[in-house]
């Protein structure tokens, strides 16, 4: 293949990726508008637009600006963050089953939240700010334990060892979780189960502002490192053959992925599935190169979360079904359909 053809195929790939990103953005915008109408208090599309530009009643403004918009923003951020994290992890570990769960993030944050619920006197007055912070601490501590156990002097963190260690630690933590879950009262069980299935917990502007810098800064770092991710995804031998310093970039990217997923899980509960499925869907849309794959994953994840959140609010038995469950119910069949259609 001569240089001209290479350039041409690169151009075609880039325009295809840009087209996909544009389609995803338009879809997100449409679902965004629908999502603002959905909920137990119905508002027509006209009323929503009117309220957005300052022409609504006090009640309409309150519902839109204080309840629905922050929740929508959180859903978008969490979806994008988890999908980015999963994309990086799958690239580094070269295993399609990797997701933020292998870093013990869901298990760790779940256990800490459960401990808090079990020993806190009541459920109704559970402080809004304590849970996300505790969840973040739990996620980070677990990820660090797994990194520490998987680290070996001279070799750094080998992906295969990381995955096996992650499985073992997650199994240990979930067995403690099972024991605890059996001993708490039914009301507390219900609360804990809902949290662990993944429900958007912190839906105020404070949490949006707290989460936004994580997603932007860490996401930007991942984008900058997209080229190293391409090389890392080829495997260690090929990567060092191409002159990449494998160890350093890999450890930094792992830390970044863990931090991003931890921040997301802190406000959303245990929604791991977006991190698994978002990158897979994106890979089938734009191929394996991370320059295109990372932004597409982020948008796929954001769209999936937004759709799931909208559906869970629009369902007649609203607010009972956690978003994480809707994510799996919508995402899994679509993924299976994509898989049945593709060759790879």
């Amino acid at each position: 293949m001569d240089t001209e053809m290479l350039h041409q195929s690169a151009r075609r790939r880039r325009s295809k990726a840009l087209f996909m990103l544009a389609v995803l953005l338009i879809l997100i915008a449409i679902v965004f508008l629908i999502s603002m109408n959905a909920g137990s208090f119905r508002m027509s599309a006209g009323t929503v637009l009117n309220t957005l530009f300052g022409g609504g009643t006090d009640k309409e403004e309150l519902i839109l600006f204080e309840f629905r918009l922050p929740r929508i923003c959180i859903a978008l951020l969490v979806g994008a963050g988890l999908a980015l994290s999963g994309c990086v992890l799958q690239g580094i570990s070269r295993n399609g089953l990797s997701d933020p769960g292998i870093l013990g993030i869901n298990a760790g944050s779940g256990l800490v939240v459960l401990l808090f619920i079990a020993f806190y006197p009541t459920t109704d007055a559970a402080p809004v700010f304590a849970l996300p912070i505790l969840a973040l601490v739990g996620a980070c501590v677990t990820a660090l334990i797994i990194f520490g156990l998987a680290y070996k002097k001279g070799e750094g963190i080998m992906p295969s060892r990381l995955i096996l260690t992650g499985i073992a630690i997650a199994a240990a933590i979930s067995s403690v979780t099972i024991v605890l879950m059996l001993r708490i009262s039914p009301e507390k069980y219900q609360f804990a189960a809902t949290w662990m299935a993944g429900s958007i917990w912190g839906s105020t502007w404070t949490f949006v502002l707290a989460l936004l810098p994580w997603v932007i800064v860490l996401g930007a770092y991942m984008m900058v490192k997209a080229r190293s991710l391409n090389v890392l995804a080829l495997g260690d031998q090929l990567a060092s053959g191409l002159g990449a310093r494998v160890g350093g970039d890999r450890s930094r990217l792992l830390l970044v992925a863990a931090g991003l997923a931890g921040a997301c899980v802190a406000v959303s509960g245990g929604i791991g599935f977006v991190g698994l499925i978002g990158p897979h869907i994106a890979r089938r849309l734009v191929g394996p190169r991370h320059e295109a794959l990372l932004p597409t994953s982020a948008l796929c994840g954001a769209l999936l979360m937004l759709v799931a959140d909208t559906v869970s609010r629009a369902l007649p038995m609203s607010s009972e079904i956690p978003t994480g469950i809707v994510v799996a119910v919508i995402g899994a069949p679509y993924f299976l359909y994509l898989m049945a259609r593709s060759r790879a």
């Binding site: 399609g96 240990a172 059996l182 189960a193 079904i321």
Partner: protein, 354 residues
């Protein structure tokens, strides 16, 4: 994942007859299997004798071989302890062998029977039974769980092989993960909506408590046949674990082997999950332990896995009754407690790339 390094291929020598191009340690394997069986016999006896009311080993011997229904101790041993201990051994062997088959077939060290959607299918069926038909008889629930496991694995297999290019291990693993996520989400949703989560958790964590001869009689013929079938297939599984090219080069009918192995996994793990709930870690852990001890030949891995899996569950069951009597600790937690440190040790020794 078994190694397929050129050196391993060379060491095997000729590819004809009974010799397969893999490293194995037959002498150690025989020691492991025989030693494991002796340990299993002892732990079964121990399992029957300890509990809320301790029965001496002599009485256990009497009750087993000279049963007298008039004596209360004999009754306890015969009606409560024996089925429980035997069911533990049987399901342990089933989970471990099913896990070994899955790992050999998919060449993925993370594979176990849960990956075929079995656990999540059984869990969904259980949630449906609890939500829509409360008070359903025990045996019927077990049957429905098995149906759920079968449906889930059917979907995984169907979608995996529907796609263009046929069923590849990667596709099987991904389809299994997606279907499991879907079914788990559905059963979680049902549990939260109908507020039956904790009941379900009790059932699942309950493990072997309450196992009767009735269940044992129902699952024994199937699982015994499937275990024997797994032994007969072990040679083909070893070939499959070397990769498709090598396997077809050795004259193996890959498609047929895969289907047969999947059916065996369904019978083994499906019945075990239905009878005692998901003690999933056994299926993941034991094949790794067996491989570490006896090498990568599945003719030794499969029997060694069966013995070690049985031993692990029987021991964990004893511990679950000993820790805080009369309260029983969840057996899954104890298996993780015993298994995780060992798994961590294995993971640290791991040098291969996945």
């Amino acid at each position: 994942m078994p190694t397929t390094s050129p050196s391993a291929l060379r060491e095997g020598g000729s590819n004809q007859g009974d010799t397969l191009p893999v490293k194995s340690r037959p002498a150690i394997a025989v020691v492991v299997i025989l030693g494991g069986l002796i340990a299993l016999a002892f732990s079964l006896a121990l399992s029957i004798s300890v509990g809320a009311a301790n029965v001496s080993l002599a009485t256990v011997w009497e009750a087993v071989f000279n049963y007298n229904p008039e004596l209360q101790e004999h009754l306890i041993v015969h009606e409560l302890r024996m089925p429980r201990a035997l069911a533990g051994a049987l399901t342990g062997a089933c989970f471990a062998v099913a896990g070994a088959l899955m790992q050999g077939m998919t060449r993925n060290p993370l594979a176990d029977s849960g990956l075929l959607g079995l656990n999540s299918g059984a869990a969904l069926a259980l949630a449906l039974c609890f939500a829509f038909a409360p008070g359903m008889p025990f045996m019927l629930i077990i049957v429905w769980c098995f149906v759920g496991a079968g449906v889930a694995s059917g979907i995984v297999y169907g979608i995996g092989s529907l796609s263009r290019g046929g069923l590849t291990p990667v596709r099987l693993v991904l389809a299994g993960a997606a279907v499991s996520a879907l079914f788990t989400a559905l059963s979680e949703g049902i549990a939260i909506y109908y507020r039956i989560g904790q009941e379900l958790a009790f059932w699942y964590a309950g493990g072997l408590a309450g196992t009767k001869w009735l269940q044992l009689d129902a699952i024994l013929p199937w699982t015994a046949a499937a275990l024997a079938g797994a032994m007969m297939m072990s040679r083909s599984i070893t070939m499959l674990s070397l990769g498709e090219e090598v396997a077809s080069g050795l004259g193996l009918n890959i498609g047929r082997t895969r289907v047969l192995a999947l059916i065996l996994v369904l019978v083994l793990a499906g019945t075990a999950v239905s009878a005692v709930g998901a003690v999933a870690f056994v299926g993941l852990l034991i094949p790794h332990v067996a491989r570490y001890m006896v090498g990568v030949d599945y003719r030794y891995i499969i029997p060694a896995s069966a013995v070690l899996g049985a031993l692990l569950i029987v021991l964990a069951d004893i511990a679950s009754r000993m820790i805080a009597p009369p309260f029983e600790s969840p057996i899954g937690a104890l298996i993780a407690l015993i298994g995780v440190p060992f798994f961590l040790y294995l993971a640290r020794r791991e040098r291969r790339e996945l």
